[in-house]
């Protein structure tokens, strides 16, 4: 098996030490850092992402794979920076006010980072203004709101309305997701995009930067 295949395979198994070792080996073999990233790490993460989307693997598999990816990226980072690999865009991410849950949001962050997006993660219990301020400060094109509870999903409407009422209207897209969220709800509150899982969220966010 080629070194890049080894990286992808071990990443899918969530074996961070193996991934680190094979990333180092690939560098030693003279494989360009960007190729190791694309054809090794991101290849493995994309496969896990697709399996997650198809309910073939579940949250823990994605979490351990994402950790293995991040460990690999740590080894690569100095070489990537030296080669000037740039981020594709900036996304603001957070769980809405009143909601303290972050597993889904963190999965979205990992998947987006895996797609080369810069993610400003505001954490949980994020008030509307904080989403807008962060988008302004970071010149972000996308705000992503997460909610686990039916009691808090209404906050997403407030984010959409605040963006509409601001100078960011039409420029910043609002994406929403979380267990109780549906396409119908998305349309009802006028959000720009709903996705059912973290993989689709990352794909949708990336499409706004193309």
């Amino acid at each position: 098996m080629s070194t890049l295949n080894e990286i992808s395979e071990w990443l899918q198994k969530g074996r961070a030490p193996k991934v680190k070792a094979f990333v180092q080996q690939a560098l030693d073999e003279g494989i360009p850092a960007n190729e190791i990233l694309q054809d090794g790490l991101l290849d493995g993460m994309n496969i896990i992402g697709q399996k997650f989307k198809n309910n073939e693997v579940f949250v823990p598999e994605v979490l351990v794979a994402a950790r293995a990816m991040n460990r690999g990226i740590e080894v690569l980072r100095p070489y990537l920076v030296a080669n000037g690999v740039e981020e594709k865009g900036t996304v603001i991410l957070g769980t809405v006010k009143g909601d303290m849950h972050d597993i889904g949001k963190n999965l979205v962050r990992m998947m987006m980072e895996g797609k080369g997006l810069k993610v400003i993660d505001l954490g949980v219990d994020v008030p509307v203004e904080k989403f807008l301020d962060a988008a302004r400060e970071n010149d972000a094109k996308v705000i992503c709101c997460s909610a686990l509870l039916t009691t808090t999903m209404g906050e997403m409407r407030n984010v959409v309305e605040a963006v509409e009422a601001s100078e960011m209207k039409g420029k910043v897209k609002v994406m929403i997701g979380g267990a109780p969220i549906t396409q119908t709800f998305c349309e009802q509150i006028g959000a720009d995009c709903y996705t059912a899982d973290a993989t689709s969220a990352a794909e949708a966010a990336l499409s706004y930067f193309k």
């Binding site: 969530g14 963190n106 219990d125 209404g154 109780p180 549906t182």
Partner: protein, 254 residues
């Protein structure tokens, strides 16, 4: 009246008690606690039960037939959205989940939700039927992660999947209105201490359960969804509305 009641096991004590004492004839079907975590599966299971109740109803003698299907479910992560029937009205309480039922009203739950931000609710049903945060349960969860994902990933997975707990601030313990078990309060107090949450004891109530099981189902607290209509969310405090639909039209639902 003869009622077919489909309920979540987390409420089995309250509902069984009321059903036994009711002037109505009530048959109860139970689903396991925890299906709100997979709302599409919850919806499928509930619809299967509704269909089976209605099929059975057709072959019953007329005087033994059901008159209504009552769901002991709230929105429950939207698991009840899309449900429909062919012949019987479906009654569902206008609330987010069972916590409103345990507290006596959706209004009371909303008030407590705001005055006790980040509250994890414990009560008898939850402690008996559900996975509730406790050191013992987390020890078991970690052992499972070790088995499935290896020792090197276990602590990381525990951190990822349980990090939300550090964002919570309250342990809300709802007392059991027909006789509390002291050991359950001890369990909840211990969890509060272990996880650094403020312990707050609030009185449970049978009022909403009573109205659910015995009726009459007023429009303020309950949706009555007629046959050939489906339950939809209205995203207000009323939670639901009914919308006429074809019985096999499931577009928009997984």
């Amino acid at each position: 009246m003869r009622i077919a009641l489909i309920g979540c096991m987390v409420m089995n004590r309250e509902i069984s008690r009321l059903a036994a004492e009711s002037s109505h004839v009530i048959r109860v079907w139970w689903l396991r606690q925890g299906l709100h975590d997979t709302p599409d599966i919850l919806r499928t299971e509930l619809q299967k039960m509704i269909d089976s109740v209605e099929r059975e109803n057709e072959i019953l003698r007329e005087n033994l037939r059901f008159h209504a299907i009552v769901l002991a479910y709230g929105l429950c992560s939207n698991g009840v959205l899309g449900l429909r029937s062919r012949t019987l009205p479906i009654i569902v309480p206008r609330c987010d989940d069972c916590i409103s039922l345990f507290l006596g009203s959706a209004e009371r739950y909303r008030k407590l939700f705001h005055s006790m931000p980040g509250a994890y609710w414990y009560n008898r049903g939850w402690i008996e039927q559900a996975f509730t945060p406790s050191e013992e349960n987390y020890r078991l969860q970690r052992a499972q992660y070790v088995e499935e994902y290896g020792e090197e990933n276990a602590d990381y997975l525990m951190e990822c999947t349980n990090h939300w707990m550090t964002n919570y601030t309250y342990c809300g313990y709802i007392t059991c209105p027909y006789g509390d078990c002291p050991e359950h309060e001890v369990y909840a107090r211990q969890a509060a201490e272990n996880f650094g949450w403020k312990f707050k004891k609030v009185d449970g109530s049978m009022e909403y359960f009573d109205a659910l099981v015995n009726g009459p189902w007023d429009d303020v607290r309950f949706l009555t969804c007629p046959p050939h209509s489906r339950i939809e969310a209205d995203y207000t405090d009323r939670k639901f509305r009914s919308v006429p639909c074809e019985i096999d039209d499931w577009e928009g639902y997984a």
